[in-house]
Symmetry: C2
Subunit: 547 residues, 2 copies
C-alpha cells in the first residue's frame, strides 16, 4: 500500500490562491504609515491606498461587477491607474488597461471584444473614448478621472453621462469584505497586443502568474526594502511590467508620472530620491539627449530596467555617467513582461567598456520565476547549439506565461508549441548560455517601445483607392528605434504620392503607426505568390545605408 502522502488534502489553511493583492494587504498591515504613492503635491500611505482600493472594489461589486467581468482603464500613470491594479482584482474582476495612443476604432474593438462593463477614462483622452463609444455595441459605464494636475492640457468637454472616479471611492464601503479569488488561475488582467494579424489580441493574465512575476522580479532584480520607484513605464504595457504589484510587495514608494518629459525627468529623480525606474530604450535615448546643463548624476546608483532593442553603446555610456545601472531584459506581453535578464557576471568586470556593453546588450538568462527559456530550430524542433551563431526561435515555459488569447482559440493554439510558448523571436545562444535576439518576429515593428503590426498598417494602406498591393517592414530609426516603411504597388491607372499615403494612414489609424517612408514599385514575390519581406528588408538596409 503506498504511503498516504497524497491523501493529505488542501484546505483553506494550507492552500491559499496566489494573488498579488495579498501584497497590498500585508504591506498596509505592516507598513501602513509608509508613503505608497506620490503624485505632484499629493501623497497617500499604504493604509490609505488599501482603503481607497477596497472602497472602489465595493463600488464595483455594488454594480454587479465581479469575476470574469472586464473593467477597462484608458488613462495615464496617475494614482487612479495604480489603484485599479488592486481595486479591480479585489472585486474579482479583470483589469483591462488600454494603450493611450490607440485610435478610436481600435479602442472600440477592444471594448467590444473585452465586453467591458466599465471604462475608467482620463478627461485628456475624452475625444478618443467618445468616438470609440459611437461605434461600440458594448455600452460600459463611464468613470471619469479628472486630474487636477492636467490643468495645462486641453480640458475636453464631457458629453456623456459619467461617474466621477472619486465617487467610486466616496460611495464605497471601507469595510467591504473583499476576497482573494477562489482559484489562482482566475483572470486578473487583459492586455491587448498588436500581434502579427491586424486586430490586437487579448492576452489574459492570471493571479498566480502576477504573484510569481512579483516574487521573481524581487529575487532577480535584487530589489531592496522600500525602493523609491518612478513609474515611467506606461501601466498599460504588461501592467507596467507588473511593478505596481512588485512595489506593493516591497513596501516601495511609487511616484506617478502623467507624461514623460526628458528635461523634467532628472529633477524628478533627484527630488524623490528615486532608486528604481524602468523604460523603453527610447526613454534612455531621450535622457541621453537632454541638454547637459539639465542632466544630473546620481550616487548611489539608480537601478534602471530596460526592454526592447538594446540601447546603443553611446547611450549606455551616458547612462553610466548619470549613475544609472541599466539592466537589459527581454519579454513579451504574453509573458507578463520580462522573463530574461542580462544578469551581470563578476567575470565581466575586468573587460573593456565596449566588451561590457556588448555582453550587457544581450537578452540574457532567465529570471527566478521563469522555468525554461530555450532556442529551438523551427524545422527540426531541436535546441540550437550554444555557439552564438545558429539561429532558432525563443520558446518559453513558466508560470508567467499567459492563459491564452481571449476568444481566439486559433491564435492560442498556434502560440503554444508542445510545452512551450513560441515567441516568434529569433535568437542565438552564446557559449555562456546567454540568449541574444537576432531578429524580431518578422511582422512586428517596435517604434518608441510600442508594437506596430505591419499587417495593420498594410490593411490601412489597402483602404486607399490607389493601392494595389502593400507590404510594410521595419526601418531602423535613430529616434524611435524602428519605424514602418511601406512598399506599395499602385493600381494600374492610379496615381498617388508618398505624403498622401502617409497622411491617409495618419487619419485612419493611430497616428504613430503611420509609415515614415513609402517606396513605390512592384513587390518581390515567391513562386507561390507570397510577398518576400526578406527582400524588402534588404532594400530597407540599402536605403538606410545610402542616406
Amino acid at each position: 500500500m503506498p504511503i498516504e502522502y497524497q491523501q493529505l488534502p488542501r484546505s483553506g489553511a494550507n492552500h491559499v490562491p496566489l494573488s498579488p493583492v495579498s501584497f497590498l494587504d500585508r504591506t498596509a498591515d505592516v507598513y501602513g504609515h509608509h508613503t505608497a504613492l506620490v503624485y505632484q503635491s499629493n501623497s497617500w500611505t499604504w493604509s490609505q491606498v488599501r482603503e481607497r482600493c477596497i472602497r472602489v472594489a465595493h463600488s464595483l461589486s455594488e454594480r454587479g461587477i465581479g469575476p470574469n467581468d472586464t473593467v477597462s482603464v484608458f488613462a495615464f500613470n496617475t494614482p487612479e491607474m495604480f489603484e485599479s491594479h488592486f481595486s479591480v482584482p479585489m472585486a474579482g474582476a479583470v483589469l483591462n488597461t488600454i494603450n493611450t495612443r490607440l485610435d478610436a476604432d481600435t479602442v472600440a474593438y477592444i471594448l467590444d471584444h473585452a465586453e467591458s462593463k466599465m471604462v475608467i477614462v482620463d478627461r485628456g483622452l475624452w475625444p478618443v473614448i467618445d468616438e470609440a463609444l459611437k461605434s461600440c455595441s458594448q455600452q460600459p459605464e463611464i468613470v471619469l478621472i479628472d486630474d487636477a494636475f492636467a490643468a495645462g492640457e486641453e480640458q475636453y468637454e464631457v458629453t456623456r453621462k459619467v461617474t466621477p472616479y472619486e465617487d467610486l471611492v466616496a460611495s464605497g464601503n471601507p469595510d467591504y469584505a473583499w476576497a482573494l479569488p477562489t482559484d489562482e488561475w482566475q483572470a486578473i488582467s487583459l492586455n491587448y497586443t498588436s500581434g502579427t494579424t491586424g486586430r490586437p489580441k487579448g492576452v489574459v493574465y492570471h493571479h498566480r502568474g502576477s504573484y510569481l512575476m512579483t516574487m521573481g522580479t524581487i529575487a532577480s532584480w535584487n530589489i531592496p526594502h522600500r525602493p523609491r520607484y518612478l513609474y515611467s513605464v506606461p501601466m498599460f504595457h504588461c501592467n507596467g511590467w507588473g511593478h505596481a504589484w512588485t512595489m506593493a510587495a516591497k513596501a516601495g514608494t511609487v511616484v506617478c508620472l502623467r507624461a514623460f518629459e526628458p528635461s523634467a525627468f532628472f529633477d524628478l529623480l533627484e527630488q524623490h530620491h528615486i532608486t528604481h525606474f524602468g523604460g523603453a530604450p527610447i526613454v534612455l535615448n531621450m535622457l541621453a539627449g537632454v541638454p547637459k546643463e539639465q542632466q544630473k548624476t546620481f550616487d548611489p546608483k539608480i537601478q534602471v530596467m530596460t526592454a526592447g532593442a538594446p540601447p546603443p553603446a553611446a547611450v549606455l555610456e551616458s547612462m553610466s555617467r548619470f549613475g544609472f545601472e541599466v539592466m537589459h531584459v527581454y519579454g513579451l506581453t504574453e509573458t507578463y513582461g520580462h522573463i530574461l535578464q542580462a544578469a551581470p557576471q563578476a567575470s565581466w568586470q575586468g573587460k573593456s567598456e565596449a566588451e561590457q556593453a556588448e555582453l550587457k546588450s544581450r537578452q540574457g538568462v532567465r529570471f527566478a520565476m521563469t522555468e525554461a527559456v530555450k532556442v529551438f530550430d523551427q524545422d527540426s524542433g531541436q535546441q540550437v547549439p550554444a555557439d552564438g551563431e545558429t539561429i532558432g526561435e525563443i520558446r518559453i515555459r513558466g508560470n508567467t506565461v499567459m492563459k491564452g488569447y481571449l476568444k481566439n482559440k486559433e491564435a492560442t493554439d498556434e502560440a503554444f508549441v508542445g510545452d512551450y510558448f513560441a515567441s516568434g523571436d529569433l535568437a542565438v545562444v552564446h557559449s555562456d548560455g546567454y540568449i541574444q535576439v537576432k531578429d524580431r518576429a518578422k511582422d512586428i515593428i517596435i517604434s518608441g517601445g510600442e508594437n506596430i503590426s505591419s499587417v495593420e498598417v498594410e490593411n490601412t494602406l489597402y483602404k486607399h483607392p490607389a493601392v494595389g498591393e502593400a507590404a510594410v517592414v521595419a526601418m531602423p530609426d535613430e529616434t524611435w528605434g524602428e519605424v514602418p516603411c511601406a512598399f506599395v504597388e499602385l493600381k494600374a491607372d492610379h496615381q498617388c504620392t508618398d505624403t498622401e499615403l502617409m497622411s491617409f494612414c495618419a487619419d485612419n489609424m493611430a497616428r504613430f503607426k503611420r509609415p515614415k517612408k513609402v517606396v513605390f514599385g512592384a513587390l518581390p514575390k515567391t513562386a507561390t505568390g507570397k510577398i518576400q519581406k526578406t527582400v524588402l528588408r534588404e532594400k530597407v538596409r540599402d536605403i538606410v545605408q545610402s542616406v
Copy 2:
C-alpha cells in the same frame, strides 16, 4: 453568456508545478561557476552540486525509489545533507531528516512510521542507527557518509552492509532526465516534531510550500545577490528553515558546519566573509559567552535570523557590538519555519536601546508569503483586540502550512481550525499589529532550541517502578532557555532519589530530554482528577525565584 476567461486551460507551457528544485537548476545554468558549497578545505560550484544531485537522484531512481517513497537522512550539516535537499526531491521522493540528538527508540519509530526505503547516515551516528535498526520492522538500505573531516571523532565500526554515499554519486548518470513533480502539492519532505503527545508527529511539506518559503524569505529578509551563508541551523530542523533552497535561489555560497563550537565560530565568520546565518537563541547566548579575546566584530553587519524565546537584552547588546543585525522570527515545524518576523520600523530608530530591544523581541508581523496570522480567543473564536494585553491563540493561514501529519488524521484534524492552522501558542497583539508570544503551548518545553514533549518525559518516568504519578513542566534556565522539571508522587512503600530518576530518564530516552529537577510530593488535581499544570508552573516560578 459569461466571457470565456475561465475556458483558457492550464498547459505545460503556462502552468509549471512550483518546486524549489527549479532554483538549483536555474542557478547552475546562470551562475554555474560560482562556489555553492564550502566544507573545510573542499568546495563545489553550483554546476558541480547540480551534477552530484542528478547523479544521486538517478541512483535512487535505479533502486525504484520515487514519488511518495521516503529517504531518511540522519546526519550533520555536511555537503551530503545539503545535497539531499535537492537529490531526493529530484527523484520525486520525500526527504526525511532526523534530529541527530534523538535516541535509538525514537529513530526506530520514525523509520518505521515513515516507511523509509533508505537511510543516509553519518558514521558518527552509527551506534544510534544500529540500535534503532534492531527494533525496526522497516529495513531500509543504509548509505554511509564517511566524513574525512570527522577524524577527531570516535570512528565507529560499521557492522552492517552499507553503500558508501560517494557510490550513489559515482554510479549515477549525470544525464539522468530528472523531472519536477507533476503536482506541486506532492510531498517534498517529512519532519518529525515532538508534539503534545509522546510520539513525534510527521509533518509533511509540499513542493509548492518550499518554493514559496524561499521566495517569501528572500523578499522579507531582504537577501541580496550571492549571500555567504554559514549553515549553523541544523538542516534537520524544518529543513534548516528552508535556507538550502533559499541559498540556491540567490546563488549564495553555503558554508557547512558539522558541529557548532562557539569559539571557532567567529573565525569561520571572518574566514568565509559570512553575510548571513541563523541560530536558536542558545547559539547567540553561547557566542555572547565566548571569551572576549576570541570575539570579533564585523562591518558591514552580518544578518542573523533567530527563532524561539527572545534573546535577553544583554545578549542582544553583545550581538549589536559584534556587528550582528539580529532579526527575531517565529514559526513552527508545521509552518516550514519562520512565518512572523520582528520587521524593524523606521520609527524605532529614535528610541532607546532598551525600548528597541523590547520592540525587536516581539515575534512580529507576517512574512511576504504568509497570508494571515491572527490571534483568536479560543472560546469565542473572535480575534482578540490589539491592546497588548488580551491573550489568544496564534492561528496561521498560508501556503507554507504543512499538508498535515502523516498517518495521523486525528492530530491533523485537530490542528486545523476552520481555515487556520492552530499553533497552540498563546499571544497578544500590540497596537502596532506586532504579535508577541506570551506562553508556549502548555506541554512543550523548548530547551536549547529543541522541542521536548513533557508527555514523553512523563511516559519515561512512569516506566520507573517507584513512580506513581508524574507531571513535567518547563523551568526557566539561563543556559538552555527552558529545561524539564518533574513533579513526582511515589508509589506507596517505594523510595527513590531525584538523581536516580534523572539517570533513569537519561538512560531511557534522548539524554537532553531528562528532567533537570525533580520535586516529590502529591500532585494538585482538578475536581475531575486532571493534574493542574498551571499550579505546577506557579510552583516552578516560586522555586526559581527563591534560588
